[in-house]
């Protein structure tokens, strides 16, 4: 885990969440730029996951089996949540599609925080 990258992911994700909920409040469907914002967050998460995976294999981070499993679980969920949210939001081209992206972008920071907690023990 790299703290600066985690912080960027958390702040970026929350910013996209606020943006998405504003769109919902204005009764607008997800805009193209909202999807771009979400993609940027997904990329930050993917880089973090990539680095964490390399370091985990190198022996850093959690050492006990159940903590490694827990970390990998959070890692995969954080990786898959943004694309899953995007696919579902496409199916709901209304204000609720925007709210769905907002909900996903609120959950991603929680997953990043949990990854940091499990990593540090």
């Amino acid at each position: 885990m790299i703290d600066a990258l985690a912080l960027a992911g958390i702040v970026g994700s929350l910013a996209v969440a606020v943006w998405a909920f504003l769109l919902c409040a204005r009764d607008e469907l997800p805009s193209r730029s909202l999807y771009v914002g979400m993609t940027v967050v997904a990329a930050l998460v993917a880089v973090q996951v990539g680095i964490a995976t390399v370091r985990l294999i190198g022996g850093s981070g959690p050492s006990e089996g159940n903590r490694i499993v827990t970390f990998v679980g959070y890692m995969l969920t954080a990786l898959l949540l943004p694309p899953a949210g995007a696919v579902l939001a496409r199916l709901e081209p209304t204000r609720w599609g925007s709210a769905l992206i907002g909900a996903a972008m609120v959950i991603v920071p929680v997953l990043i925080l949990r990854m940091q907690q499990v990593w540090g023990g």
Partner: protein, 139 residues
């Protein structure tokens, strides 16, 4: 003309996604706990596993959005509400019975009280939505 939304559309889609995520979270947590340290707190871990199954059933019930599946979802949400209230209260009164946390301990405090709010939102949404119309009725 029924102006209510189908259960699996609009805000319901978000609700069932969060339900799905909780099924995953509770299920994964219970699996790890049961596989690695079952004897430490068998009651807590079995309750986590049960909660996961009920979340999953509620998710599928809402996603299918038929008359029957909605009834199943109502039953699951009611069960969850009862579970979080009973286990939440029990975990406060008798801490020794729950040496390790479940999703429902202290009304779901470990999950930001979402386990307490979720079944209430679920039941409200099921009340104010309708089954998805069959294609014949739409045409």
């Amino acid at each position: 003309m029924d102006s209510r939304r189908p259960t699996n559309k609009g805000p319901g889609l978000i609700l069932l996604c969060v339900y799905g995520l909780f099924a995953l979270a509770a299920g994964a947590r219970a699996s790890v706990q049961i596989a690695t340290k079952f004897s430490e707190a068998p009651l807590a871990y079995l309750l986590s596993a049960l909660a996961a199954v009920v979340y999953l059933v509620a998710t599928v019930g809402m996603a299918r959005s038929t008359t029957t599946s909605r009834r199943v979802a109502v039953a699951s949400c009611s069960f969850e509400l009862a579970g979080v209230l009973i286990v939440g209260t029990a975990s406060l009164i008798d801490k020794d019975a729950f040496p390790d946390a479940t999703v429902w301990s202290t009304y779901g405090v470990g999950y930001g009280f979402v386990p307490l709010v979720l079944p209430i939102l679920g039941l409200l949404w099921l009340r104010f939505s309708r089954p998805t119309a069959k294609s014949a009725e739409v045409a």
